[in-house]
Amino acid sequence: MIPLDSLIELRGVHAGYEGVEVLRGIDLVVPAGQVLAVLGPNGAGKTTLLSVIAGLVRPTRGDVLFGGRRVTGVDPVALARAGLCLIPEGRGVFANLTVAENLWLAAGSDRSREVVESRAFEVFPRLGERRDQLAGSLSGGEQQMVALSRALVSDPAVLLLDELSMGLAPMVVDDLYRRVVDIARMGVTVVVVEQFVRTISHIADRGIAVISGRIVLDGRIEEISPQLHSAYFSSSEEVST
């Protein structure tokens, strides 16, 4: 029985890289079906937070739970197979594989190529026209479509998105996030990292602000967005004293 009120849970998580502590005590519970926005300035530790959830970075202290089970230190391959889908920062595609091959890799081994392709091309017809093109030769927006298709074809329980908008035109970003909303409607729990609250204010149920590796704000997105500015500001204040 999976506890629906805490699909993902982080308890007192500390994590970092070779002597640099980035996350410093994160406590977070994400219920099933929620769309959570993770906000914060550059270098705050947002990407690290997602990496910890996906198992790519092992916490130095604290625990990660997925569906009520402790998964701290579990092989990220196993987590991915269990339904955690992280679309990393930048372009999450295999540049030297064709679009079709990218999709096929993304789907589990039990799905046929035809089913996978028809599902993705239905949502992103543009990819269908570029089926046999190398993903590396696609435009930035198209590459993000390929990356996002992974969330369509692999039936994840949780979708972790890291700055989908990076380097893309606002219109393209809006279009991509509309697909994310569709995915969320199917019951997928979504954690979205963004720098700017405006981009995702209309799709997220809840927002947290991470600053210097701690959660400083947590609440409904329209509640916390007015406080964001002063939160960022006071954090830089703290550093300069």
Binding site: G19, V20, E21, R24, A54, L56, D75, P76, V77, A80, R81, C85, L86, I87, P88, G92, V93, F94, A95, N96, L97, E101, W104, L105, A106, G108, S109, R150, S154, S212, G213, E238, V239, T241
Partner: protein, 738 residues
């Protein structure tokens, strides 16, 4: 016409074997990013095991084949992947190549160790003597079988790579390893699969080729390396193009052999016989010329695990003084035979030194140190036949010129292709140029009979080059002892010259080129010029070393400059640290000092095997062991002059006693070993005593945490603040507000 059909069929059979080899190589490279220089050596293992089973043990051929392809191949693949290749994550292409080159040297040494190389080994093909008539040609059934197997391998491979999930995963992993993890695919399993496929096809090729040649590990590995040309035609990506390359290779070899190689009646025929052997090299060179310019990738910033620091004048002087003094001290102690063997030491060391600027500093790998050395030796032997001292200079200049010429087409290539080109160059020299019969070099004014220059040239003088040791300022250096000391002085001069180079502007540029080719291009510096310069310098140093090495042997044969021996030098230098000048001493000592071979005469393969074993461990230690292991050990000693002086004094005492025949050489050798072991221990003791609070010195001060951590948990504590103030020379309280 009949002839043509016959040659074509022979060519297609050869092409089939090349296709199996090359497609396995391409698959491994395309799916792991590691170019396996040892591919041919794996094939050699297959051939030898097959021979052992069928000829020695009398097993039926199918059983032996199943053992080789079904068990040996996959087991080798798993072993190589899990034991070696897995550790190469995050190292650069050069380190990876060095590791597989080490594996190549090691496997060949290992095979020669297990199976006596003197013994002739013949494998009979299956269906021996049976043939089918096709187009008026009798075609052996075995050849048909070879072609069928190759076809099957080609089809299966293409299916695996493009149609199977595993294949797509294998290709994806090269693009982005962490993304493959996020897709729920285990990168370890995937890499293992591709190594298993690669090594199994290599073993299969070895088994197929075994009946077609006499078995010798070195020549089998070289034969298989011919197929590398086919992989280059396929740009190490495309299987169909690779197979096309194999066809070109097989057919051109067969036609060359049929129409030229067996006909001494052709004009100049005797000069072309050797050329037939290097047809694959020619194909490789042509294929390399058609490669696109190396693309600069800015996409990923790379965090290299390889570092290179600048040699100090102090350090280099120490190295030079130690080299000369130790040589002069040890020479009188050695038995004449050992002394004679050791005369090669400094020649080899200089050749090894030549690798440092090119590989260690400019980050370009040339796998042919002995080829440039041979050029140097030849120049010195032909132009300074009486051992004139300027012969060394000519050797250097001439080899540098050859290096520069070779690097013009090579400079634009990526490190891998450049390394392949240099290997091809070395093999062409070994197998053709050095074995040319004498010819007349004639320079005539065109359209007239006026001859300007006429010289009979016999490159290697019938297989052994006459080289005289020099006379300098009336000193006769023909004796072993005098020559050894002279050679150490030449080595010292080379070290100092290279130190100056590394500290110069050009030295800086080389490092910049290695660290960031893209950054280099964006600040407007010309990569080609720097690469050519690095090549020329390296070749020049190797030329000087070659002249010394040849003079040490006095009558070197082409075999003394053999490609594989050159690889041993390369591997040792990389293991000890390609950016450290001192690594060259290790190469000389390891390859020329007869210690190991003397102590274990029956195990002459120990040296190459150890070398290769060390090379294979490189993945753990890409900066080389001098920097990572040896230097830290001795740093304590270096800081305690009293300790070092005392140790040296004791050693000198023992030495004098040995010289005076009071004690035996072995005692002295023991004392040297003890010195090397004990000094670092004492050095560490002394340093620790210093650091402990009981000592008289100031306690060591440090930040309470790393600067990054401190920066995140501002404000700073009082101790850290005052430490920083001291470090940066700031008066406390000034400019910090309050």
């Amino acid at each position: 016409m009949r002839e043509f059909v016959g040659f074509t069929i022979t060519g297609l059979v050869t092409a089939s074997i090349y296709a199996v080899v090359a497609s396995g190589l391409t698959l491994t490279y395309a799916t792991t990013g590691i170019f396996n220089w040892a591919h041919g050596a794996l094939a050699a293992i297959g051939a030898f095991v097959y021979w052992q089973c069928t000829t020695l043990w009398g097993w039926p051929a199918p059983l032996a084949m199943i053992l080789c392809v079904g068990i040996i191949g996959p087991v080798l693949g798993v072993t190589v992947e899990s034991g070696i290749m897995r550790r190469l994550d995050g190292t650069n292409e050069i380190t990876r190549m060095a590791v597989t080159l080490a594996l190549l040297v090691g496997i060949i040494a290992g095979i020669n160790w297990i199976w006596d190389p003197q013994m002739t080994k013949v494998v009979l093909p299956v269906f021996n003597g049976k043939a089918i008539e096709i187009l008026g040609q009798r075609l052996p059934v075995y050849d048909l079988l070879v072609m069928a197997v190759a076809l099957l391998v080609g089809i299966v491979m293409r299916w695996v790579l493009y149609r199977s999930r595993a294949g797509v995963q294998m290709r994806g992993i090269v693009d982005d390893r962490s993304l493959i993890i996020l897709n729920g695919v285990s990168p370890v399993r995937t890499a293992q699969t591709s190594w298993v496929i690669g090594s199994t096809t290599a073993v299969l090729a070895g088994v197929l080729i075994a009946p077609k040649t006499s078995l010798s590990a070195g020549s089998l590995a070289l034969l298989i390396m011919n197929a590398f040309a086919a992989s280059v035609v396929g740009r190490l990506r495309s299987l169909p193009l690779t197979i096309l390359g194999a066809a070109i290779l097989g057919l051109s070899t067969a036609y060359a052999q049929g129409y030229v190689g067996s006909r001494t009646d052709l004009p100049g025929g005797q000069y072309l016989i050797g050329l037939v052997n290097v047809v694959p090299v020619v194909v490789l060179f042509i294929a390399l010329q058609f490669l696109p310019q190396e693309r600069l990738r800015a996409a990923k910033s790379q965090q290299a695990r390889e570092l290179s620091n600048r040699p100090t004048w102090n350090g280099s002087l120490w190295l030079v003084v130690a080299a000369v003094v130790v040589t002069a001290a040890i020479a009188p102690l050695l038995a004449p035979g050992d002394l004679h063997n050791m005369t090669k030491l400094w020649g080899i060391a200089v050749i090894a030194l030549s690798l440092v600027p090119l590989l260690g500093w400019a980050g370009r790998l040339a796998v042919c140190p002995f080829a440039f050395a041979a050029v140097g030796a030849l120049i010195s032997a032909h132009l300074a036949p009486d051992g004139q001292i300027w012969g060394l200079v000519l050797a250097g200049v001439g080899a540098a010129a050859v290096g520069a010429i070779l690097s013009f087409p090579g400079a634009r290539l990526s490190p891998l292709y450049l390394a392949l080109a240099t290997a091809a160059f070395a093999v062409a020299l070994d197998n053709w140029i050095f074995r040319l019969p004498p010819f007349h070099l004639v320079i005539r004014i065109p359209f007239t009979e006026v001859t300007l220059y006429r010289h009979q040239l016999d490159i290697f003088q019938g297989g052994s080059l006459a080289m005289r040791r020099p006379k300098v300022f009336g000193f006769d250096l023909s004796g072993d002892q005098a020559f050894l000391i002279f050679a150490s002085i030449v080595f010292g001069a080379s070290v100092l010259a290279l130190t100056a180079l590394r500290r110069s502007d050009l030295g800086l540029r080389m490092i910049a080129l290695k660290d960031s080719p893209i950054g280099y291009a964006t600040v407007g510096l010309n990569r080609q010029v720097t690469t050519v310069a690095a090549f020329a310098i390296s070749a020049g140093v190797a030329g000087v070393g070659g002249a010394l090495y040849g003079a040490a042997m006095q009558r070197p044969s082409p075999d003394a400059f053999n490609f594989f021996s050159g690889l041993s030098i390369l591997v040792i230098v990389v293991v000890l640290g390609a950016s450290t000048l001192g690594s060259s001493v290790g190469a000389g000592a390891f390859l020329a000092a007869p210690v190991l071979v003397n102590v274990f005469p029956s195990l002459a393969q120990v040296t190459p095997t150890l070398t290769a074993a060390a090379g294979v461990s490189l993945g753990n230690n890409p900066n080389g062991s001098i920097r990572s292991d040896i230097a830290p050990q001795w740093s304590g000693v270096g800081q305690r002059p009293l300790l070092l002086g005392g140790g040296l004094a004791v050693l000198a005492g023992v030495y004098l006693a040995t010289l005076g025949d009071l004690i035996s050489n072995w005692f002295f050798a023991g004392a040297c070993v003890a010195f090397v072991i004990v000094m670092p221990i004492l050095g560490r003791r002394a340093t620790r005593a210093l650091a402990s609070p009981a000592g008289s010195a100031v306690p060591e001060r440090r930040l309470s945490a790393s600067p990054e951590q401190l920066a995140q948990s501002l404000p700073l504590g009082a101790d850290d603040l005052s430490y920083l103030d001291d470090t940066f020379g700031i008066t406390p309280g000034v400019g910090r507000g309050s």
